[in-house]
C-alpha cells in the first residue's frame, strides 16, 4: 500500500515537469523565423489552404491559446508535419526512434562490464594501478571529442581492419549489432570514466561501514561480504546517475549518428535543422526530453522499491 502511494505520488511529480518541457518546445516554435506554414505548403499553395492549416494549428490566436492548441495536439500524438517528407512528425518518430533506442541500450550494455570491473578493481586497491588508469581515463574521457573519436574508430576498425561497417543500420538483429558496434563504442568511451568514478567512490564509502567489520568478525570471507553486502549497497547511488547518463547518451547520439550515417533521431534532427524542417526539430527535442523524464521516473521508482528508506 505504501509503495503504491509512493509510485503514484512520484508519477504526479512528473506532471509539472512535462508541462514545463512542452512550454520550452512551444517557445522554440514561436521563436522560429518566417512562417512555418508557408514553408510547409510551399509558395504556390492557395490562401484557403494556408488559412485552413493556420486554423488547424491555431496560429492566428493569442499566444496562450496557441499553446493550449499545441498541448491538445501533443496529447493526441500530433507533433505537426514534416516539410521534407510530407508526413506527420509522429510517423517519423516511430520510424527513427527505435534505432536511437537500440543504440542507447547497446551503449549501456557495452558500458556496464568495464565500469563494474574497473571500479571494483580500483576500490580494492585505492591509489593502485587501476586507480591511476581510471584517473587518466577520466580526464581524457572528458576532453575527447565524440565526433573525432567516432571518425578515428571508423577509420581504424572500419577501413583499415575492415571488421565493422562504417555506416547504416542493417536489416536483421545481428546486422544491427554489427553496424551499431562502433557508434555505441564511441559514446561508451565517453561515459565509462564518469560512471566508474561514481561507483568507485560509492564502493569505498560502503567498505568502511561497520557492517563490513561485523560481517567479517562473524567469520564471513572478505569476498562474500563484498559480494552480498558492499556491492548491492553501492549500486543505488550509481543508479541515480543513470538518468543523467541516458541524457548524455542521447546528446551523443546526435553526433555519432551523423558521423556513422545511422538512421536514428539524432541524424533526423541534424538533417532537419539543415533543411529548416522546424516541426521535426521541435518534435525530436521533445521526444529526447520525454525519454529522459521516463528514465528518471523509472530510476526513482526502482531505487524507491529497492531501498525502503527513500519512499517516505
Amino acid at each position: 500500500m505504501k509503495s503504491l502511494r509512493f509510485i503514484v505520488s512520484r508519477m504526479l511529480q512528473s506532471v509539472p515537469v512535462l508541462f514545463g518541457v512542452s512550454i520550452v518546445t512551444f517557445l522554440l516554435m514561436i521563436a522560429t523565423p518566417g512562417d512555418p506554414i508557408r514553408l510547409l505548403v510551399g509558395v504556390r499553395a492557395s490562401e484557403e489552404t494556408i488559412a485552413l492549416i493556420r486554423d488547424r494549428y491555431g496560429l492566428d490566436d493569442p499566444i496562450l491559446s496557441q499553446y493550449f492548441t499545441y498541448l491538445g495536439n501533443l496529447l493526441q500524438g500530433d507533433l505537426g508535419a514534416s516539410l521534407r517528407f510530407k508526413v506527420p512528425v509522429s510517423d517519423l518518430v516511430g520510424q527513427f526512434y527505435p534505432v536511437t533506442l537500440f543504440l542507447v541500450v547497446y551503449s549501456i550494455i557495452l558500458i556496464l562490464p568495464p565500469v563494474v570491473v574497473l571500479s571494483v578493481w580500483s576500490a580494492k586497491r585505492p591509489n593502485g594501478l587501476a586507480d591511476q588508469v581510471i584517473r587518466v581515463l577520466g580526464v581524457m574521457g572528458l576532453a575527447i571529442p565524440v565526433f573525432w573519436m567516432a571518425l578515428l574508430l571508423a577509420r581504424f576498425f572500419g577501413v583499415t581492419l575492415g571488421w565493422f561497417p562504417v555506416s547504416g543500420f542493417g536489416d536483421t538483429f545481428i546486422e544491427h549489432l554489427h553496424h551499431l558496434f562502433l557508434p555505441a563504442l564511441s559514446t561508451a568511451i565517453w561515459v565509462i570514466p564518469i560512471l566508474t568514478r561514481n561507483l568507485r567512490s560509492a564502493l569505498l564509502d560502503e567498505m568502511n561501514r561497520d557492517y563490513v567489520l561485523a560481517g567479517m568478525s562473524k567469520g564471513l570471507g572478505e569476498a562474500q561480504v563484498f559480494r552480498t553486502h558492499v556491492f548491492p549497497n553501492s549500486v543505488l547511488p550509481t543508479l541515480n546517475l543513470f538518468a543523467v547518463i541516458v541524457a548524455y547518451l542521447l546528446g551523443g547520439s546526435v553526433i555519432v549518428e551523423t558521423v556513422y550515417a545511422v538512421p536514428g533521431m539524432g541524424k533526423l534532427m541534424v538533417d532537419s535543422i539543415l533543411a529548416r524542417d522546424y516541426f521535426v526539430v521541435q518534435g525530436a527535442t521533445l521526444v529526447f526530453a520525454l525519454t529522459t523524464i521516463v528514465v528518471m521516473l523509472a530510476v526513482d521508482l526502482i531505487s524507491g522499491l529497492i531501498d525502503p528508506r527513500i519512499n517516505t
Binding site: 514545463g20 518541457v21 572528458l142 571529442p145 573525432w148 577501413v159 534532427m269 535543422i273 529526447f288
Partner: protein, 267 residues
Amino acid sequence: MKMSPMFLWGAGLVALWGVIALAAPMLATHDPYAIDFEALLQAPSAQHFFGTDNVGRDTFSRVIYGARLALYIGILGVIAPMLIGMAIGLTAGYFGGWVDSIAMRVVDVAVPFPFFVLVLSIVAVLGPGIENYFIALALVGWVGYARLARAEAIVLRSSEFVMAARTMGFSHPYILFRHVLPNALSPVVVYMMTDVTLVILFGAALGFLGMGVAPPAAEWGVMISEGQIYISTAWWISFFPGLAMVLIGVGFALMGDGLAKMLRIER
C-alpha cells in the same frame, strides 16, 4: 595551501595554449588560409609538419590559429552562464521560500533536455554562428551553476557569520555580495573548469555539424569535418585538430580536478 601537481600540470598546459594562441602569427609556418594547388593532400613532412588539406592549406598553421578560436569560445562561453547561474542560485538559496520554488521548478524543466540537444535546437532557431551559440549557452548553461550556488547559499544562510551580519543590521544584498558570494565561489570555479572543456567541445561539435563557426575559418571542429571524407587517405587533416582539442581539454580538466583536490571539494 599546497599546490596539487595535477593543478600545476593543467595550468601549465592551459598557459602553453595561451602562448600558442597569442604567438600564432610567429609560430605558424604558413598562412592558415593560403590555398596552394601545388601541395594538395600532402602527408606530414618537414615542409608541412601536419600535412596539407584538400586545397593545400597547411594543417599545422591552421591548428595553431585554431587555438585562438577555441580559447575565445571556451572562456567567453562560460561567463554568461556563470553570472546568470550564480545570481539565480544564490538568490534562491539565500532567500528560500517562493523565490527558491520558482527557480527550482525552472531547473527541473531544464534537466530532462540533453544539454547538446537543447543547444542545437536553439541554434537551429536562431541560425548558425558563434554568437547564437553564446546565446544558447546563456539560456541553458546557467542551470549547473545555479544548482551549485544554491546548495552553497543554503548552507551559508544559517552560518554564524551570516547571522552575526544580520544582527549587526547589514542589508540582505550586502550580505549576499560580501559574505555569501565569496564563500560560495570555490565549487563554482571548479565546475567552470570542466565547463570550459565542454563548451569548447560542443562549440567544435557545432562547427563539425555545420552550425557553428562557418568555414573556411581555422576552427578545429570545422577542420575535422573538412577532413572527414578524406579520412581513409589523408587522416592528418582530421587527426591533428582533434588531438589539439584533447590537449586543451585535458589542461582545463586537470586544473579543475587539481583545484577540487586543493579546496577539498567532493565531486
